[in-house]
């Protein structure tokens, strides 16, 4: 038991070391991929806090991503902040604003359950997209919103963004870990298993659900803010993009819904794969077909995700051995 724990800790340290030193050992194109990958690690982990722990599947999280992006962009524009390190300081503000929005949206949406909830989140996402498109005097509409352009040159540019995304991802994982160990987390899992029974036992389901929703959305909003700053220009249909929303869901399912590390693993696998597939196969137009094939294979053969499936496999292997010994006839 102790050895395993030490091994695990060492493993974690190793991964963290690689993550921290990545920019030093890779070229800027790879760092770029790393930025988007770590972005999705954060997104998937954040989504899991709601979808994995409470069982309420939100397909509209892209709305919060976009909102966080616009919030940060507009803040920076209104305050006249120049490009550089300063904008990063405003990211938490974008997070707070997104949290407020999520509280409002959540209040409406969480009155519904199951399939209706899913569709309502989709509806809210499209409403946000439409608002971004149509409030042109505020958001620039279809012409997009510009972020300040940092003065960093070529090779260096991606690095601060990588660390910003990494920081947010670590915050997300830490939050996810803390929630699991807390009474709050226990309540969430109870809601996932059977909400009415949880209510009957005294779990404040409404408040808990809303809290999880808000935390999840705030994280996503902050990540959206950093994203906007990274790509310098955001447009309604690209930043409130259903594909972003569904990707984070798929990553969580791939890794293992409701687990701590599942979303991380899912993102580490899927995002580089997606970027690589698009880059190399997009031109042949088979990119979508390949992507969907991978998608389908994962869901049909590993519906519970990699981590639960893998642990199950290992557990089964381990269970067989002593049973054989026990059953052996003299």
């Amino acid at each position: 038991m102790r050895d395993r724990r030490v091994l695990m800790l060492l493993g974690l340290v190793a991964v963290l070391a690689v993550a921290l030193l990545l920019p030093a050992i890779s070229d800027s194109a790879t760092t770029n991929i790393a930025v988007f990958t770590v972005m999705y690690v954060g997104l998937a982990t954040a989504w899991n806090i709601m979808g994995g722990y409470t069982g309420y599947i939100s397909l509209g999280h892209a709305g919060f991503f976009g909102f966080g992006s616009y919030a940060l962009g507009l803040l920076l524009a209104k305050l006249g902040v120049a490009g550089g390190y300063e904008p990063f300081l405003f990211v938490p503000v974008a997070g707070v604003l997104t949290a407020v929005l999520a509280a409002v949206v959540g209040w409406f949406a969480l009155r519904t359950r199951a399939a209706t909830f899913v569709i309502v989140t989709i509806a809210f996402m499209f409403m946000l997209q439409l608002l971004a498109e149509n409030l042109t005097s505020l958001t620039g509409g279809g012409a997009g919103l510009a972020f300040p352009n940092p003065p960093w040159r070529g090779g260096f540019f991606n690095i601060p963004f990588y660390y910003a995304m990494l920081a947010l991802a670590l915050v997300g994982v830490a939050a996810s870990w803390w929630i699991r160990r807390s009474k709050f987390g226990l309540g969430l899992l109870a809601i996932r298993d059977d909400e009415d029974k949880a209510l009957a036992v005294g779990v404040p389901a409404g408040a808990f659900k809303l809290t999880a929703f808000v935390i999840s959305a705030a994280l996503v909003g902050m990540i959206g803010g950093v994203y906007g700053y990274y790509v310098t220009f955001i447009y309604p249909q690209f930043v409130v993009d259903p594909l972003i929303g569904i990707s984070m869901v798929l990553m969580v399912f791939l890794g293992g819904l409701g687990t701590l590390w599942g979303p991380v693993l899912g993102a580490l696998i899927l995002e580089p794969a997606q970027l690589w597939l698009a880059y190399n196969y997009g031109v042949s137009r088979l990119y979508l077909v390949l992507y969907s094939a991978v998608f389908l294979l994962v869901i049909l053969f590993m519906p519970r995700g990699i981590i639960p499936s893998a642990s199950e496999l290992i557990a089964r292997r381990r269970a067989r051995a002593p049973a054989a010994r026990v059953g052996a006839t003299p």
């Binding site: 493993g11 690689v18 194109a29 042109t136 220009f233 693993l265 580089p272 698009a278 880059y279």
Partner: protein, 405 residues
Amino acid sequence: MRRALIATVAGAGLALTACGGGTATATPSPGTPITIGVSVSLTGDFSSDGPALVKGYDLWAEDVNKKGGLLGHPVTMKYVDDLSSTTQVVTNYQNLISSDHVALVFGPYSSLLTKPAATVVDRLGYAFPEPAGGAPSVFALNLHSLFFVQPAAIEDNLVSYTNWLLALPADQRPKTAAYATEDDPFTQPQIDKARKLLEAGGIQTVSYKVYPAETTDFTPLALKVASSNADAVILGTQVPDAIAFVKTFITQHYNPKTLIETAGPDQGAQYSDKLGANTEGIMVPAGWTSGSQAFNNPTFVAEYIAKYGGTAADISADSAEGYSVGQVVEQAATKAGSIDNQKLIDTLHTGTYQTVQGPMGFDSVGRPQGGVGVFVEQWQNGNAVFVYPAAVAAAQPEYPKHDWQ
């Protein structure tokens, strides 16, 4: 515990495999083949224009290789799909430049994607000649490395048309005008400028609507325009809405005296095969027409038909724009005696370049200048021809527009 262990091992393994080293680029030695990288939209929102650009680029690459290559370097084009997405376009240009070490890059489709791509390319020190990002906000980027290869900045596209309208004799001139435009950085600036000019010239605006580019059903909008009974209809459209508006006008038996659309009628077969004979009389601002005699254009048209089939009327303006980018780079390289990106950037800011869209030069932020501007093209008898100004016109403008069939 176990789960975390699996995850960390898998994660560490993945992280390590993703690492790679980087090397600096160097100007290739004479005679070695070079690759030119382009990110095109082959899937997603802009995917109806991506393939046309590719055709133009490919044709240019073929032509330049027939002459021995770009300054003696045989050219291979490398295309990557940006899924019409910001994330992908940024990744693509980073990969092309920093991983694949292409010698040069050309621009993607649409001002929307050009902006993030331009900032990336500029940061990495490459030249960025691009065929399709001409909105005012593109030039507001103040990038020295960007060059918009079209005869004029987008917002002036309708100026020729307004000149023609206002020059009509007073009794023939339209009294009223209806405007409808997507809130797109390509279409809206054109419409707004045209409206300003026409209102100043005394043509009353009876309807003005801006609609989201994401609209799916254009019928209510078209009904609104039709019910305004305006003499002139000026639409800021791309292909789908261009067609939808016309179809509604046909069903409502509404035939304005003059109808112009900012994009759609210039896309050749993609437009005409849905309207057939009803393209008659519809106008579009164009810097290029298949019949123009601009530098090398007849050769371009002939080669295009030989390679891709169809007729001259099927050729999309996007292909001509792609071809022009190649021409400009070719001439700049010859002038500079090198394909080094920095030298190309410096050279491109001086002098005039000849393209199938006519001559052009570039100011310090990449805005085209010295070109002969954008003209008015009109469909007549199944062919799109320049009708104004007289200097380039191949036919008289048809006014008022013939009725629908």
